[in-house]
């Protein structure tokens, strides 16, 4: 009988990803002699291998076999757990994830990375069995190689008599890159016929790495007269050509017998090389992956149950109200009111419940950081650890998906620019190991994520010097600390003396800030020189709903996001100053806040608001405070954000629209957008004026 097991694939995949997480966190926390952890890591790999085999995910099975073998040696105490081993296992976990995702999506994966890792794994495993020709996995590696060389090495039987030892050649080759070796024993004669002084083996080697052909040739320089040597570059940039080309380098001084067994292998490896992932393809792969991740959401049964309950209540309220409506008399108005009250309550709870479905604990976004910090510590050579707090804090899935990259950048930044080298830390009386902490918590309808490091802090003077150097500020400018820190987010600003591998990836802090703002959030910096820095990211819990202040401007109602509002006040005529031409400033304690007339900015045909009767809503964006003049402050309420782009287009100064209780539409103000509109308008006016002046001057002449 045939049993269809494909229905178990989703649960296998889910289990595998959990297993990978377990492996990763186990490896990151692995202490020498911690056998239980090694066992659990081994078991996870073992289960993945077993399941993958069942479902025919051969690439997963083959790769995991190597991982399992290595773990098995550790588990049995045959192998000391070294840092290098942990590193390669971590890399292997990445590869397993790639392979499983590829199996899931039936898509391609980064063959180069997998081949490199598996060859490193094989190398780690194979140290004591270099010339074994029955190692299936090593064989496999040879056929999946990428940049480097396939080397066919058939020495004459008498090679050893010249004092050469292939093993030495191979270890020299291994210095150039990662080397996998496949020995061919077909030429071995029967035991009684063996001449102990003869060499009967031939080899197929795969060298992975950025290697110059000359370097490889050099290694074989002393034996090239006594062997057949073929170098085939594994070049993933010109795969088609290479498949057709003859081996580019061939030396054949003696008529060594052709070894048929190795030929198919070479072809196989060329096929593998002919099918690599270019950077573009990689991008599309990761895109499809992102798509599948966005597509679904895992919701706890409790959340669904609470929804069902609420819908039940709503149905009861609805039937009560429609019954009431059947023969309504004024005497029943009280019951109607209480029914409507109940409806309001139901709707509100339903809304909250539905929103909660989209809410996920931020641990989903935080989970990648232990590994990231671990890798950063290795890369920078600085000792550091990560402390995570508040990982159960929930936020909207969409926000979570979009905040991941900015957070990665901020953590990288902390590791790279914040944490000092151990010797410097010790010299300053700090613990040798630096600490980066991630903390998430809710604060008044927002989520705050803090990225904190106990490193060097931001050097005000060097930031200033750099800004002056880059022409961002005037040399004589006096700036507050927060203004100085804001300079970090200016496009093109980087405090690192040189661009490092870690932070200098073309994505600057300006992009981080822009992404956060695009989510309706903001970022603040606090820093103490020598003590460390804190980057505070303030985000709305969701992108679908916004806490807004309704205001009246002429006949229009607008919504100002509460998060942007600093304060609202009655305009006091005495505090209004018209300066430098027609600019209106409002004296707010020590600050002079520019007043933006909404009706002017939005070209409203409204009777001009009398400035002394109006209210001023002071809002802030990008560290810039402005006052919005409005006629009246209405209610504060949550509004559902609707896009204007669906049927119309993006409108400058407007982030979206919403539908108010009376069914009418109100625009939601985009404060940063309005500020830049006003700036552009001012610049335009200025330019126009200057232009006019110069024309006048010409006329005069």
């Amino acid at each position: 009988m045939s049993v269809d097991l494909s229905q178990f694939i989703p649960s296998f995949l889910e289990e595998s990803f959990e297993g990978l997480e377990l492996m990763e966190s186990g490896l990151l926390n692995l202490q020498p002699g911690d056998n239980e952890t090694i066992h659990s890591i081994f078991r996870a790999a073992h289960s993945i291998k077993g399941g993958a085999g069942t479902f025919g995910f051969d690439s997963v099975t083959d790769f995991t076999h190597l991982v399992e073998t290595l773990l098995d040696e550790m588990r049995d105490g045959r192998r000391e757990v070294t840092n290098a081993d942990t590193e390669i296992l971590l890399e292997s976990v990445d590869c397993m994830r790639l392979l499983i995702e590829a199996a899931r999506d039936e898509s391609d994966y980064d063959t180069e990375k997998v081949a490199q890792t598996s060859s490193r794994l094989a190398q780690t495993l194979g140290n004591e069995q270099l010339t074994s020709d029955e190692n299936v996995s090593v064989d496999k590696v040879g056929s999946e190689s990428a940049t480097g060389f396939n080397i066919k090495f058939v020495p004459e039987h008498s090679l050893a008599k010249t004092g050469n030892d292939p093993l030495f050649l191979f270890s020299a080759l291994a210095e150039l890159g990662s080397l996998t070796i496949h020995a061919n024993t077909n030429e071995l004669p029967a035991l009684m016929d063996i001449d102990a002084q003869e060499l009967y083996l031939s080899w197929q080697l795969t060298l992975i790495g950025e290697v110059d052909e000359e370097e490889v040739k050099e290694i074989f320089e002393w034996v090239e007269d006594e062997c057949l040597l073929e170098l085939t570059p594994i070049d993933n940039k010109l795969p088609q050509e290479k498949t057709e080309n003859e081996p580019t380098f061939q030396q054949e001084n003696t008529t060594a017998p052709a070894i048929d067994e190795t030929t198919p292998q070479i072809q196989e490896s060329q096929i593998a090389a002919a099918n690599p992932k270019s950077a573009d393809e990689k991008a599309t792969v990761s895109k499809t992956k992102a798509k599948t991740e966005v597509g679904s959401i895992r919701v706890g049964v409790d959340k669904v149950d609470s929804l069902i309950n609420l819908v039940g209540e709503l149905v009861i309220t609805q039937s009560m109200l429609s019954e009431l409506g059947n023969d309504f008399v004024m005497e029943k108005v009280e019951r109607l009111n209480s029914g409507l009250e109940q409806l309001l309550q139901n709707t509100k709870e339903l809304q909250e419940s539905v929103m909660r479905i989209r809410m996920l604990p931020i641990s989903f976004a935080f989970s990648r950081f232990p590994r990231l910090v671990h890798d950063l510590a290795v890369k920078t050579g600085k000792a550091m650890e990560l402390v995570i707090k508040g990982e159960q804090t929930e936020l909207d899935k969409t926000v979570m998906e979009q905040i991941g990259d900015p957070l990665v950048h901020l953590v990288r930044n902390a590791a790279d620019h914040g944490i000092e080298a151990s010797d410097i830390r010790v010299a300053q009386g700090k613990p040798e190991k630096g600490t980066i902490s991630l903390d998430a918590y809710h604060q008044g309808g927002n989520i705050v994520i803090e990225i904190n490091d106990d490193g060097a802090g931001i050097n005000r003077e060097s930031v200033l010097a750099k800004a002056v150097d880059k022409g961002l500020i005037d040399a004589n400018a006096t700036l507050t600390d927060s203004q100085v820190y804001d300079l970090l987010f200016e496009p093109g600003f980087s405090t690192a003396a040189e661009i490092t591998d870690i932070s200098g990836r073309g994505v600057g802090m300006d992009v981080v800030k822009r992404n956060i703002q695009a989510l309706g959030g903001r970022i603040q910096v606090e820093s103490t020189l020598g003590k460390g820095s804190t980057f505070k990211v303030n985000l709305p819990l969701t992108l679908a709903i916004l806490d807004g202040q309704l205001v009246k401007v002429g006949s229009e109602t607008y919504i100002i996001p509460l998060i942007a509002i600093v304060e609202s006040l009655q305009i006091d005529n005495k505090l209004i100053n018209r300066v430098s031409g027609d600019m209106v400033l409002y004296r707010l304690r020590d600050d002079n806040v520019p007043v933006l007339p909404i009706y002017q900015l939005f070209d409203l045909e409204t009777e001009c608001i009398e400035i002394d009767n109006a209210l001023l809503v002071v809002v802030e964006a990008d560290g810039q405070k402005v006052g919005l003049m409005v006629d009246d402050l209405l209610a504060q309420q949550q509004v559902v954000i609707k896009s204007l782009k669906d049927n119309y287009q993006q409108v400058a100064g407007i982030s979206g629209a919403t539908i108010l209780g009376d069914g009418s539409v109100a625009m939601i103000l985009d404060i940063p957008g309005m500020i830049s509109m006003a700036l552009e308008k001012a610049q335009y006016a200025q330019k126009f004026k200057n232009g006019g002046d110069s024309v006048k001057a010409e006329v005069c002449i």
């Binding site: 109602t557 939005f602 070209d603 896009s643 204007l644 119309y648 287009q649 409108v651 100064g653 009418s664």
Partner: protein, 175 residues
Amino acid sequence: MNIQAMAQDIPVEGEHSIEGVDFITSGDQYLTFLLADEQYAVDILCVEEIRSWETPTKIPNAPGYIKGVINMRGVIVPIVDLRLKFGIGEASYLETTVVIVLTYQNDDKSRTIGFVVDAVSDVLNVESVDIKPAPAFGGCVSQQFIDGLINSEQKVVTILNVAHLQQVEQHPMNS
């Protein structure tokens, strides 16, 4: 009043009369309407609904013919005054003034926009062979919006291209 649903209820063959409007159901059907005293028509399959005029919410810095947006069952729909867009007649808002809401499907995206017209007049059956190209003698209405002309009794009806009507011109934020 949902014209599209009405039109779809009509059997394929024969002549029928619904609410006093005669439908002859061969060929394509067009909804005709008035801008001042000129007749225009749009493909009836694009007509989402016909609404009476209500004052929309203004869109900041939008061109004058875009009157704003309204809430149509939770969807934000922009309102374009065709009389202003085409420069025909007076843009007055009377009791007969109506908004024809058109939805145009383009690939997987659809766009819904309301158009203010003076009055809805009729449903017209048109064989495609009867549609004649409009002479390029340049009236107020740009040629890109015109699919052709058809004769309806004594009148000439301009058939409008919904796809082009639906295109929202990028308007600079401050002109």
